[in-house]
């Protein structure tokens, strides 16, 4: 089982603050995820397999031509909030 410290470390990397209940919850849940990965590890693969699913005849490169995205307005509409053309996010707090 994942330790309390390990869970807190992962939470910190994900910029999440957890309550006491959540720490216990994620200890169990993340442990199950890791166990599942352990199971998957029994399948014989290697790291190379990761990048071998790409069709060999696919053109790997694109010419360096700048083309502005056509639906720019549509893209910006995905933003929850925009201020001065910038994506507005909650203020970033100092890490503890």
């Amino acid at each position: 089982m994942l330790s309390r410290e390990e869970v807190l470390k992962i939470a910190k990397l994900a910029r999440l603050t957890l309550t006491e209940d959540e720490i216990g919850f994620y200890q169990k849940q993340l442990t199950r995820v890791l166990d599942h990965i352990q199971d998957l590890n029994q399948v014989l693969t290697n790291k190379e397999a990761f990048v071998q699913h790409v069709p060999v005849d696919a053109e790997p490169f694109r010419e360096d031509v700048a083309v502005p995205f056509a639906n720019h307005d549509g893209l910006m509409k995905n933003a929850p909030a925009v201020e001065n053309n910038c994506f507005l996010l909650p203020a970033i707090m100092e890490q503890n």
């Binding site: 990397l13 994900a14 910029r15 790291k47 990761f50 990048v51 071998q52 699913h53 790409v54 696919a58 790997p60 490169f61 694109r62 010419e63 360096d64 031509v65 700048a66 083309v67 502005p68 995205f69 720019h72 893209l75 910006m76 995905n78 909030a81 201020e83 001065n84 053309n85 910038c86 994506f87 507005l88 996010l89 909650p90 203020a91 970033i92 100092e94 890490q95």
Partner: protein, 478 residues
């Protein structure tokens, strides 16, 4: 304090932005200064389902850097995801290279002020995409993704540097090479060439590295040496005071001239690197690599060697004239018009660079163009003006950007090479100095200089010196 008992161990990491038209994995323009979020698309804003496609030109520029820095190029390399959370990283990961970068084991030869050369090893160069930019305001964080996905090469040196000066020279050499080969424009104000330094100190004679401190975002040549020097001293003083060096990230505060602790960052294993599943293995064919090798632009060392051979310049002169691509180009243009390599080198280095330095201008903003300077040099060579007058003319050219010929005409500075005109002056000088004439006639021949000087003064320095000398002697001896 016993600074001299310690030596510094310095390695540098440089992020160089590649000079492409579009971003690394999408077709958005790679353009500085556009209004926020104009150069964005589903790929570089991390929209679900959007897939990256590699920019061929970015790969080419990276390979060029590898060749210029004498690296071993790996025909097969792998992109990797570097995972971390920050608002200016929309995907939650940066596409980079980790276990298999496209090149390793290169070097740069740098010139030291002692006149020696030193070889600084390059550990690796890898491709990665830049992040966006966030501005923190009280009411929230504003994110601009124009820079997100812009192609970078990260160039990691070996910890081969021992002084701030060596680090500064390495950085200058790297900067110059990348600009010569049109890989990176080197603009540090715009953040297109950024440097982090890893610094530790150890007692001289020991092998083991001390605890290293990472110095982030040193964004000007002026600060690199200052910041490193400060940090080395800080570490030595701490050790001498019995303190332990803490592994941390610091930044240079150029207002206070100190380094300060920054927030803690992730350790390498916290980034949970893994091969990028959205991209194929990066494969360079040997014919493509050969083509890039053949089309390599001239590098500073090659230009320097060519200048030395063609214009009979010293090592030092050649290294000054090739210190930037613009300066080398300017000098070549002067020579091609003046047809006098040595004089062109002297004028560019002694007169022009000195004046540019004094007013804090780079060569591309020189008020005197290369053809204008060449014209001035040609006028000295043809005897139209003396070297001394030329300096006065040059001063005026630098101040007004006017051509030499118009200044010479306006100020009446043309060299007097007409014997009849000079003879009149000489006659007048001899007549008004009868006692000196008598002394000369009595055998005090070194008074020749006196008469020449007086006559030169009379012509306001415009007499052709050789002709004047000859005529004065003829008159005195007649």
């Amino acid at each position: 304090m016993s600074l001299e008992k310690y030596e510094a161990v310095i390695g540098l990491e440089v992020h160089a932005q590649l000079m492409t038209a579009s971003k690394m994995f999408c077709r958005c323009p790679n353009q500085y200064g556009s209004s926020p979020n104009t150069n964005v698309c589903p790929v570089c804003t991390g929209q679900p389902g959007a897939l990256p496609v590699i920019n061929k030109k970015a790969m080419e520029l990276g390979v060029r850097a590898a060749i210029a820095l004498n690296c071993e190029i790996h025909p097969e390399s792998v992109f990797a995801r570097k995972n971390y959370f920050y608002p200016d990283l929309p995907k939650g990961y940066q596409i980079s290279q980790y276990e298999k970068p496209f090149c390793t084991q290169g070097y740069v030869v740098v010139q030291l002020k002692t006149g020696e050369e030193k070889r600084i090893g390059i550990t690796r160069i890898h491709f990665e995409e830049d992040a966006g930019k966030s501005n923190h305001e009280a009411y929230g964080t504003l994110v601009n993704l124009n820079r997100a996905g812009v192609p970078l090469c990260e160039i990691v040196s070996e910890p081969d540097m021992r002084t701030a000066h060596e680090a500064g020279q390495y950085l200058r050499a790297l900067h110059s090479i990348l600009r010569y080969a049109d890989i990176c424009d080197g603009n540090m104000e715009e953040g297109n060439f950024r440097c982090d330094a890893n610094i530790s100190v150890r007692p001289i004679g020991t092998e083991k590295f001390g605890t290293k401190v990472e110095l982030k975002n040193i964004n000007s040549f002026k600060f690199v040496e200052k910041a490193i020097e400060y940090e080395v001293q800080r570490q030595v003083f701490a050790i001498e005071n019995g303190e332990k060096i803490i592994q941390q990230t610091r930044s240079w505060n150029s207002a206070k001239n100190v380094t300060e602790v920054m927030r803690e960052k992730e350790q390498a294993h916290d980034y949970r690197y893994f091969p990028e599943p959205d991209l194929p293995k990066l494969v360079f064919s040997s014919s493509w690599l050969d083509k890039i090798k053949k089309e390599m632009p001239e590098l500073p060392q090659q230009t320097s060697a060519r200048f030395k051979a063609a214009f009979d310049l010293s090592d030092y002169d050649a290294s000054v004239l090739t210190s930037s691509k613009e300066l080398a180009k300017y000098f070549e243009s002067v020579v091609s018009h003046s047809k006098n390599g040595k004089a062109s080198a002297n004028w560019v280095m002694n007169e022009l660079l000195g004046r540019l330095n004094a007013v804090g201008k780079e060569i591309d903003l020189s008020p005197v163009s290369s053809t204008q300077l060449a014209e001035l040099i040609a006028k000295i060579d043809s005897g139209e003006i003396s070297g001394k007058i030329a300096k006065t003319v040059f001063e005026e050219m630098f101040a007004t950007s006017k051509d030499a010929s118009s200044i010479i005409k306006d100020k009446g500075l043309v060299q007097i090479s007409d014997p009849a005109a000079l003879e009149n002056v000489i006659r007048k000088v001899i007549e008004s100095n009868p006692s000196q004439l008598a002394e000369y006639k009595a055998g005090k021949v070194k008074l020749l200089g006196f008469f020449v000087g007086q006559a030169m003064k009379e012509t306001k320095g415009q007499a052709n010196p050789a002709l004047l000398n000859e005529l004065v002697k003829k008159f005195l001896d007649s």
